[in-house]
Every structure is written in structure tokens, then in C-alpha cells.
């Protein structure tokens, strides 16, 4: 299936002058925080959260903001993990790509174009490895683009592997630079059709040969043991890689080349088992690609979120000449509270604002504190005190008690057009929760009885 061309994410809207002005106003007179692959990937983690969407769109430094209001995030990386990661990447790239090329060919069954022309002697890799790492980002981006353009013009020449390429993606109207670890130029599956994992691709197996493509590689230092790796870490790597693929598609489109020239299977390079020797796997990132693309498309629609906000709202983190913040913690806190969050416990490991949001959810007694599945099991009731009241406990200070008292016979007399109101919402939940409470109380009574019998017997 031909890859659909990438949309021009976020270009129109955040360029909508009103929205852009409004976002700049929210951020205050300090530069917007740059997006990178990690922060773009993070957009897919909790897209329903308005607080996060607005702060990200405005380019507010969420970490600094959270620290200012007294809820600094606690996630960091161990120095051991960082040095291990760096050492592994260095080791993988240390031999000018010989190891990597062997992985592509031997472990992933890819055929690299140059290697194909010279099947017996492995090409002299020194010439086929290029490092794009030096210089300014824009400069690196330009050289990456030129390399891709040249490689498309004259296939079979130029480097096989490009180190430190630089790509660019429009995010909310601003250019974000993203750096994949590596690009492998023009490879293809040796056995046609084998790179496509999806069911029902037998048609492509009938094609004479798979087309040449560019492959992006991501080097991670978590281990792949007996062909398995931590699925959460692989998922994070896949979403990040999807950002690179999307940026590469944009680059190709900019050059007038079909975006399908970059593979949606990315090469994940990890340490093998307990060693430092690298191994590799192809990871199909089409799902993650769709998710990232969709979130970038949604960014422009931020305008509707902004419409509901007070005009004086500001997340300005700037300081005066004496280094004193222009806005105090209380003022910032108020601004944060003005935008609704959608807290879930998973946020703790993913969002800088999470401790603030958790505190807020606890203070208001929101069932969000307990997690999504528990909230669903509670019939979607938002407030803990409503849950308790609906379960039949009295004196919880909840409006819901009223709802329970209203005798809506939900089974026998529903008028879809009239009788439905908040009381009915509560009546349905009440039925569920009161069964739960009654079952619990009866069970505890029976357990007590059994316990006494046991003691009497003993």
C-alpha cells in the first residue's frame, strides 16, 4: 500500500495570527521551548489533557513551571544508564558501520544497494559512512537534505550510512529539529514481501522485488534478550522513531520525492542478551506514525481550547533584573488551575506537571486519582464523595444523595425525550454501586460469622 503523504502538520493554524498571538501571550516574553522527538512523541501519551495541550502549544517549559509552583518532577536518569547508553552507541558506531551493515544484512535480511553491486567484497566502508554531526542544526539539516537528494538522483553512489542526520518537522507552526541516530541508505528486504508483517499482504509477495528504501535506525541501550525486549521501552522507541519517519517523509515531500521512500519499519539496535554486542530488529511503526500524525494535526485546533480561557491568563516564567520571578507561585498556580487537566496515574512517569495534577485531583477527591480502569468500574462517576453517596452511604456531603432519593424507576418507565436528567445519571450509577456496597457488607458479615465458627471450633 502506498504510504499516504504526510500532511503539513500544524502549519495553517498555529499560523492563524490570533491563535499564535494568544499562545505567545500565555508564554510571556521568553523563548518558546523547542520540541524534540521525545516531546513530540509525548503528545500521544495523554492527548485528552487540555492543560498539557495548551502548555505544549504555547511552548511553556513545563518542568520549570512545575518547579515554580512547588511540584517539580522527580524523574531523572541514572548516570550509570546515561554512560551505558553513550558507551553502547559509541561502540556500535566505532567501526565505521561494519557491524551495523552486518546487522542489516545478516540479522534483518536487508539488502543494501551498494553491497548488492559488489556481493563478494564488502565495500570499503570508510567512504560510505558520513557523519553529519558537525555544525548548526539548520546547516546539518541542509546537508542531510542534500545527501538524500543526491542519493535519489544517483542511486548507488554516495554513503551507505549517515550518522547524526538532522531532520525538521513543523510543530504548531514552529520548526522542530529531530535527530535520528542513523540513516541507512537504500536498502530493501532480500526476500520480497518479508518486511511487511501485516496479515494479508500476499499480493506484495508476488511483486518481483521490493523497492529500495531509506531505513532509519535507532540505537537503544536496553537489552534484547533471546529476541525479547521490554515492551514499554520498545513502544517508546517506536513512537520516537515514528517522529523521525514523519520528519523524513516531510523531507522527501519537500524534495518532490514520494514519501514512501522511507521505510515505516525502523531498525532498532540494542545490546544482545547480556553482552555489549549489538543486535537488531525491525519494528513496524505504522500505528505510532498514524498516532503522531494525528496529534500534530490536532494541534492547530488548540484555538477552541483557548477560547474558553480568561484573557489575563499568563504562564510567564521570566524574571526581572534581580532574578525575581515576575509572577509568583500562587499566581502561576492559579493560571495552571484555570485549564482543565485529565490526570491519570500514568502521567507520573510521563509529564512534568503530573505531581501538581495529582495533588489537585486528590484535593478535589476526584476518582481520577485511582486510575482509568477503576474510574470506569465506578460507572464513570467523577467525585469520590458522589461514589460513596450513590453506594448508599449517608452524609457524604454529596449532591448525589438527592439523586438517589429521586425515585426514578429506570427500568420500566424511560422517556428518552424527557425524564432523563442528572438524577438518572446518578440513578444508574447508584444501582451499580449499591449492589457493590451491599455485596461487600453482606460478605463481611458472613466472613465474621465464619470466623466466629472457626474460633468456636478451635
Amino acid at each position: 500500500m502506498a504510504a499516504t503523504p504526510p500532511p503539513n502538520p500544524a502549519q495553517n493554524a498555529a499560523r492563524d495570527p490570533d491563535v499564535a498571538d494568544r499562545l505567545a501571550e500565555l508564554r510571556g516574553p521568553i523563548p518558546a521551548r523547542h520540541h524534540d522527538a521525545r516531546t513530540i512523541a509525548a503528545l500521544t501519551a495523554n492527548p485528552g489533557c487540555a492543560r498539557r495541550s495548551v502548555l505544549d502549544a504555547a511552548g511553556v517549559d513545563k518542568r520549570a513551571l512545575a518547579e515554580r509552583i512547588g511540584f517539580g518532577p522527580r524523574f531523572g536518569q541514572s548516570p550509570f544508564a546515561i554512560s551505558r547508553g553513550n558507551a553502547f552507541e559509541k561502540l556500535v558506531k566505532s567501526d565505521g558501520g561494519v557491524t551495523l551493515l552486518r546487522l542489516l544484512c545478516d540479522e534483518l535480511g536487508l539488502e543494501v544497494q551498494e553491497a548488492a553491486q559488489n556481493p563478494d567484497a564488502k565495500p570499503a566502508l570508510g567512504d560510505q559512512w558520513v557523519d553529519l554531526g558537525a555544525g548548526e542544526r539548520e546547516d546539518r539539516y541542509r546537508r542531510t537534505r542534500d545527501l538524500v537528494a543526491a542519493s535519489a538522483r544517483e542511486p548507488g553512489t554516495g554513503p551507505v550510512l549517515a550518522d547524526h542526520p538532522m531532520l525538521r518537522l513543523e510543530v504548531g507552526g514552529r520548526a522542530a529539529y529531530v535527530e535520528p541516530d542513523l540513516v541507512a541508505f537504500r536498502a530493501r528486504p532480500r526476500v520480497p514481501g518479508t518486511e511487511v508483517h501485516a496479515y494479508g499482504v500476499t499480493e506484495s509477495a508476488a511483486e518481483p522485488a521490493a523497492p529500495w528504501r531509506w531505513y532509519l535506525a535507532e540505537i537503544k541501550s536496553f537489552a534484547m534478550i533471546d529476541g525479547r525486549a521490554d515492551p514499554v521501552k520498545v513502544a517508546e522507541a517506536a513512537t520516537q522513531s515514528a517522529v523521525y519517519v514523519l520528519a523524513f517523509q516531510a523531507l522527501l515531500s519537500g524534495l518532490g520525492l514520494p514519501p514512501g521512500l522511507v521505510a515505516t519499519d525502523v531498525v532498532l539496535v540494542c545490546p544482545k542478551d547480556f553482552s555489549n554486542a549489538p543486535t537488531a530488529a525491525l519494528v513496524d511503526v505504522r500505528r505510532q506514525l498514524a498516532a503522531v500524525r494525528r496529534q500534530l494535526d490536532r494541534l492547530p485546533r488548540i484555538g477552541t481550547l483557548l477560547d474558553g480561557l480568561d484573557s489575563g491568563l499568563s504562564f510567564d516564567l521570566s524574571t526581572d533584573e534581580d532574578g525575581e520571578p515576575l509572577q509568583g507561585a500562587a499566581q502561576l498556580g492559579k493560571a495552571v488551575a484555570a485549564i482543565e487537566a485529565r490526570y491519570a496515574p500514568e502521567c507520573i512517569s510521563r509529564c512534568d506537571m503530573a505531581f501538581y495534577c495529582r495533588d489537585e485531583a486528590r484535593a478535589t477527591g476526584s476518582t481520577e486519582v485511582l486510575g482509568r480502569s477503576i474510574r470506569d468500574a465506578l460507572g464513570g462517576v467523577a467525585a469520590m464523595r458522589d461514589v460513596l453517596a450513590l453506594s448508599g452511604r449517608e452524609d457524604c456531603g454529596s449532591d448525589a444523595e438527592r439523586g438517589v432519593r429521586v425515585e426514578v424507576d429506570v427500568d420500566t418507565d424511560i422517556d428518552i425525550d424527557g425524564a432523563v436528567n442528572r438524577d438518572l445519571d446518578f440513578a444508574e450509577a447508584a444501582r451499580l454501586l449499591s449492589v457493590a456496597r451491599r455485596a461487600r457488607l453482606e460478605a463481611l458479615a458472613e466472613a465474621e460469622l465464619r470466623h466466629r465458627e472457626r474460633e468456636a471450633a478451635a
Binding site: 548516570p79 533471546d226 553482552s275 496515574p345 465506578l378 457493590a436
Partner: protein, 508 residues
Amino acid sequence: MNTLAALARVEAFAAEQAVALATVRHVHLAPHPLVLVPILLAGEAAAPLAALVGTDRADPQLLVVRQPRDRDQRFAFLADLARIVVGYIEGRRGETELVEATRNHEEWERHLDAPQLIVPNCGGIDALRLLGRSARFRSSQGPYPVDPLVPILGRYLTWFAEDRAPTAGSSVCLALTDVLGSHWATGQSALEDQHLAALLAWIVPQHFAPPDGRHLTGAQAAALTEDPARWPSAGPATDPEFDTEILSPLVTALQRAAGDPAAERRAEDGLRAALRDRLAPTWNLMWQGIDLLAGLPEAGHDSHRWMVDRGRFTDFARAIDEGAAPQPRREGAVAAAKRLADLESAQESYDKQRALDDPLILAGYRVTGEAFAGSVVAVDAERQDTTGRTPKPRPHVWLRTADPVVLRKGTKVACAQRPNQRPVIVDVKRDGEEYIVELELVDGMGRRAIPEEGSVPGAGEYRCYSTVLAAERFPPPPLPELAATPWTHGGPPAAYTPTGADHDEEWH
């Protein structure tokens, strides 16, 4: 998460104190469990850094690797651990009991005891799995010889982590947070419950009270445990701050001291002290958790399940004695299918046993529509099926319940009072806000034309009927022998022969 357990969390939140999710203890607790708190070095696959281990709460043994990236030191650590763990296991192999022959099995001896390994959380079990994997293929010969106990340890750790721990109802290898979390509901999320200190804080906040004796609620105590300096993570990963501020300088100091024995010893003592400090709070929490569990009454099926564990232990220990090959890197088709059948059947019996042993567990099924409870309002004990040659007793029982009954006609149910009797629902009628369920008794009444005394519930009796209790277990279908693995599953796999690659695995 059923609504009953979810509501319990809300109640815990409101009370600022954990509430019970179980009224009896659904895991076995050995008199002398081996508690193990493993710590791995961040960023590495399975580089042990330290472990606190032992059966005596007052005297844990601290094992430390000075340089976790050093292969020899890793295996020296594993050899030390092996002496403790394998020694403990061998100590469970004293007395045996005779198990009489059955149709499928000849007479055999079963150990009267079995090992019980308790780690803080599921991350701990994963650490055992990785350590097991890194150790079981090693060899005492060849280019990288290790202590002969290391591969034995590897096989046992693999058995603990990959065989017993995932098997429902097995108590040979437990993650304490999982066990506590299935017996108590806290007012926080399941994610936060994975922090052993935070979980215990909700259950026994008094243990977390500050020196001034101030009373703490569970919620307040749990908030205190978020300070990693006081309540460090229970592993297997260390906190990044600890790595940066404490561990990293100590490791550097050790490297600098190389060549100077006195300085080396000082540096090593510093490292050991730091790690002991780091692990000690978790060690104490482990025993607090175990004490809490010991305070619950034992579940009715406890000894039966432990007997199964003892049997599996007997088999495995014998296989090790006989020099069994290490467990393969990945299970073959036949082994995987067999394990799936085992795990599913263990899960089903555990679910059923817990519902029988604990009214609170059974109550959870009332909320999901898999059970209903109420009083028997009428009984036709005389009713018979006269269509056959001899009339059979088929009493009908009417039960009134306020639970919303969604079970279909024809469904078989059972109750804890007579688990072997499986009546069929023949009718469900609404009566105002309540339901009247009509049941037909078809079995469990003896062999005569008239039901046995007490086999038919009487009017006024309270019963909770559930499909879970009536679940019938069919033995899994026979699978082909390994050598007869069909082409659909790749044909017979090549026989396992240990290769050099297995024990010479590259290390940096």
C-alpha cells in the same frame, strides 16, 4: 477491576486507611520464607549490584558487587547467592510423604516442605528471571568457568520466576506488593501500590509515624514514603538521585583506590554501608508485610495448594539432581501449549477456590453479574423427573435477590455451602426491584429417589449462587510428543544440545 474492589478503593480514600479486599489469606506462608531484595545496576540488563537476603529478619546477609560491569565479580556474586539460595532449598528436602499410586501415576515420595522465596515487587521477580537466564547456561568448564552452583542457581531462579510465579495459586515465589494488593485496597492507584512503602503506609500507617509520635493517617504516611531518601525504592532499580549522589562517587572512589589495599577496603566498606542503608528500610518493610499476612486466617484451600507446590518442587529438585538440561531460551511449541493449559487451569481453580474460601471474593462476582445472593423463598423438594424409567429427584428452589440477574436460563451455578451441587437456572422473573430466580437441582442429592437429608436448601436460607463455583474443569486434550510436532508448528524441533555459545556468551 470489578466495581466492588473499585468501591473499596474509594472507601479507603475517604477513610485515609486501607480496607480489606479479602477476609482470609489466599497465599501460603511458610514458617521460614527466604526473603530476597535484589538490586540491579541501572542501564544494564542484569548486572547485580547488591542483595539483602535471608530467613532471619534480624540477620540478613548483604551481598555486594563492587564493580557490576565486571564479569568475574558478577559471577562471584551469583556464586555467593547460590550458596544461600541453593542451601536454603536443599534444607527443604528433608522429610517426605508417600503418595499412593493413581491410574496415571505410580507411587511416589513428596517432600513435606518446599522453598518459599519472597521478593518486594514484580520487578523483583523479573530480576530473578534475568539473573536466572544469565546464570543457567553457564558452565564450570570452558573459557569462562563459574562456580558449579551458579548454573544450578540459574535453573532454580528460572523455575521460581518463570514457572511458579506466574502460576495462579502457587506460593513458592511471591511478589509482596502483589500479594498485599490483592488483600487490601488503598486509596491510591495500582501504579502507586507497586511502591512497597507506599502500599504498607496505607495499611499500617502507625509504622510510619514520625519520632514525635504524631498520629498519621494512611494517606499521610503514604505521602511521607514519596521521599526516596527516607523510603528508597524497593528495587530492583535504584533511584537516579541515589546513583548520582551516593553510588557514583563511591564507585569512583573504589576505582581510584585500586592498588592500595587499605584504601580499597575503606572504599568497599563505604559502598557496603551505603547499600546496606539503602536496602535496610525495604528489608524491614518486607517482614512487616509478612507479619500482616500471617495475621490473616489461612484460606480453606491453602494446604491443598501448598501440597501442589510441594509436589512440583519434589519433581523439579529431582530433575536437577538428575542433571536436567537448563530450561531453553524460548519454549518450543509443545512445551508452550502445555504451559498455557497448565496456567489456565491453575487460574481457573484458584479463582474458584478463592470464591469458595472467601465471601468477599465471591461478592465481587455479584457485581459482575456472575453471581447473585438472597434468601430462599420457596422450595418444591418433592418434585421429580418421571420421564425416565425410574423417577429422579429434581427439586425446584426459588430465591429472591436484589442483585440484577443477567445469567441466562440453562446456566449452571453453585454455592459455597454445597460446591458439588450444580443447579440449573430454569427461570428468572422480575418482582419490583428484585428478581426471583428459579433453580432446578439435578445433582448432589445422593443416589436415591428422595434427596438426601440437607441436600436441598430450605426456605429462609441465605445463599449466594455463582457460575464461577460451578465451572467444570476438563482435562486439556493430549498434545503430540515433541518428536511428533506437526508441520503446522514447524515440525519436530532440533534436540537441545548445550553449545559453546550458551556458556561462552560474550561479555564485554
